[in-house]
Amino acid sequence: MRISTLVISVFLTLPSIALCEINANEIVKKADLKRGLGNISHSFNVTVTDQDNKKEIYHVYFKDVNNTLTEQTAPERSRGRKLLMKDYDIWLFTPNIKKPLRISLEQKLTGQVANGDIARTNYAEDYEATLMSTDKKDDNAYHLALKAKNNKVTYGKIEYVVSKKDFGPMEATFFALSGKPLKKATFSDYRPIQGVSRATKMVIQDYLQKDKISTLIFEDHKPEKFPDSLFNKDRLEF
């Protein structure tokens, strides 16, 4: 009797665990679509403003999660800088060096705003999600733990808070591969883009130096087809 109860309860529990796992990744996929157009070929602009009101503007060509090209358009000193991410390879082009230079993957983390924050924003592709215990005070949100699928992604772990109401991302805390907390982000300013309400503002605050704040505004999302050659490192100089 006891054995059969145990077997039944195991059978009942297993699907619910599996369901939780599926749901967690599904939640992240749905949340990704509230931040961008997902894994379809498109372009968009990102404006990054730091705590001293210094602005940087980027144009991103997103073919799919493994082919992204980011071109800086402002300020003038950095105009024409390009960063190509192809699978797990990265190249940097600067107008004064005039040739593409292979750089290491960890360059994705360089700067207060990581290159990955701008160009590789589909968390579902890079991280395995699990649901964390829900905070009873805030049961309008899913609390997810996103673990890097490999050590080539931007962060080792992300603690992600997603709205239960519409799967809109609310907050994220980013951790290095070593487990050290790096920064915290909030998502806001939901606006209709291509018929769906999506977050257009991401505010990133350094975890230790709280006065270091960067505001990212994502805009001008346009579905667009790009030739393969646009993501060829030898084309960066053109």
Partner: protein, 427 residues
């Protein structure tokens, strides 16, 4: 030969312009931008000796629809560095002014190929800092550590075509270059190379001027590819030596007059880059056939031909606590050498560079170069600070010293501290 190169160039140009004409002038956009740099150096070798350099560039960028665009640059420089580098005492140091056309080209882009025609800069190789594969454009060799590489390069009239392709996980390109107008580098004073071999009171150098267009031509190409964390390039270029060799024109007891000449040479090379975890390994190897080098025999200025092999290996370290580093080993070797030559048979350098990023947008660079055989040293440092959205401040210094026969010691007259401001503008 001349007729054939002329007709081929005209054919290529016509074909290019006809392609361009297919691009409708649906939307024409124009933008003007540029920069102005001023640098003041206080030299440490000679008391009360200052050097200045002012540089300006204005650029017009035009887009004629999505496929066709044009760049037009005008550059202006004023500097005293040529006199500063001279080993001969120069009390009447004179600033030199120069206004010249920078990059001026038309570009046509399609999905699978790009063509550019006009004055332009093309850079090959995987390494940076010391770039043996940067053989296409002539350079202002008087520019030293604290100049951007792009400021030391002179544009070359080129037809430049590059085709791109992808085969599974392999992506590659084939580039073809043709130039109907060779140009030469601005070199350091000849005394730098000759040392005591030409010890006379007066040394007059007759520069070789740029050949007339279509009188002499250059061509070459590069095949490059990337696969699974590995980049490679194989290239060759047949061209007129950017560096001069000298021939004696006339001589008296107190003065020598020499001509600067540039011989036709060929360079073949390979470049590699590979990611090793968070490190990046780079290598450039270039073999130049029949390069002429000067030597002095029985008080006569002569030259000999020899193959030159330049090789470089470097490794970039990952960033750790805002520090990153590069270690470079570079060697330049002549196959043959004769006594009293203007250079050594083997020249070897080890370069270490550390960069500290400060507050996201500032950086401090410190580098040390060690020259082997005749021991020479160079220490260089630079603090870069974007003080406003459009202005950069740089403070630093560079010091050259060592054995009198070392190459690095030849630069000792430009050892000094500097301050520079660079302002970018856009209309």
């Amino acid at each position: 030969m001349i007729k054939s190169s002329t007709s081929s160039f005209i054919f290529i140009t016509t074909a290019f312009l006809s392609l361009c004409s297919q691009a409708s002038a649906e939307s024409w956009r124009y933008q003007t931008r540029g920069y102005l740099t001023a640098r003041l150096t206080s030299y440490t070798e000679n008391a009360k000796n200052y050097g200045q350099q002012t540089r300006a560039q204005i650029e017009g960028a035009s887009d004629f629809g999505s496929n066709l665009s044009a760049i037009d640059q005008l550059r202006w420089t004023s500097n005293s560095i040529n006199a500063d580098l001279s080993t001969v005492s120069s009390p009447s140091k004179k600033d030199m002014f120069q206004a010249y056309l920078g990059e001026n080209y038309l570009k046509y882009k399609s999905d699978s190929w790009v063509a550019q025609i006009g004055y332009q800069e093309v850079v090959w190789g995987e390494a940076f800092g010391q770039n043996f594969a940067d053989i296409i454009n002539p350079k202002d060799l008087r520019e030293t550590f604290y100049s951007d590489a792009s400021e030391a390069r002179f544009p070359l009239l080129l037809f430049n075509e590059k085709t791109f392709f992808t085969l599974g996980g392999f992506s590659g390109s084939l580039q073809l270059l043709y130039s109907p107008e060779p140009r030469f580098s601005k070199t350091l004073p000849v005394e730098i190379y000759a040392g005591n071999l030409l010890s006379v009171t007066t040394l007059n150098v007759n520069k070789e001027s740029t050949p007339e267009i279509f009188k002499k031509s250059e061509f070459g190409g590069k095949f490059a590819g990337s696969y699974s964390g590995f980049d490679f390039g194989i290239f060759g270029y047949s061209y007129y030596d950017r560096d001069p060799h000298y021939t004696l024109r006339s001589a008296t007891l107190s003065s020598i007059s020499i001509n600067e000449e540039h011989s036709k040479i060929k360079s073949l090379g390979v470049s590699l880059a590979k990611t090793l975890g968070d490190f990046v390994l780079r290598s450039d190897i270039v073999l130049t056939k029949n390069k002429l080098t000067n030597y002095v025999e029985n008080l006569q200025l002569k030259s000999f031909s020899s193959d030159t092999l330049n090789a470089l290996v470097s490794i970039d370290t990952p960033t750790y606590n805002d520090y990153s580093g590069v270690l470079i080993y570079a060697q330049s070797s002549l196959k043959d050498i004769l006594p009293n030559s203007f250079r050594q048979k083997d020249e070897e350098y080890l370069i270490g560079k550390i960069t500290k990023n400060i507050d996201h947008d500032k950086s401090l660079e410190l580098s040390y170069t060690h020259e082997f055989k005749f021991t020479g040293h160079s220490i260089q440092s630079q603090f870069s600070w974007p003080i406003t959205q459009s202005t950069d401040l740089k403070l630093g210094g560079q010091f050259y010293f060592g054995d009198k026969s070392s190459n690095l010691n030849k630069y000792k007259n430009v050892s000094g501290l500097f301050i520079s401001l660079k302002n970018y503008f856009q209309f």
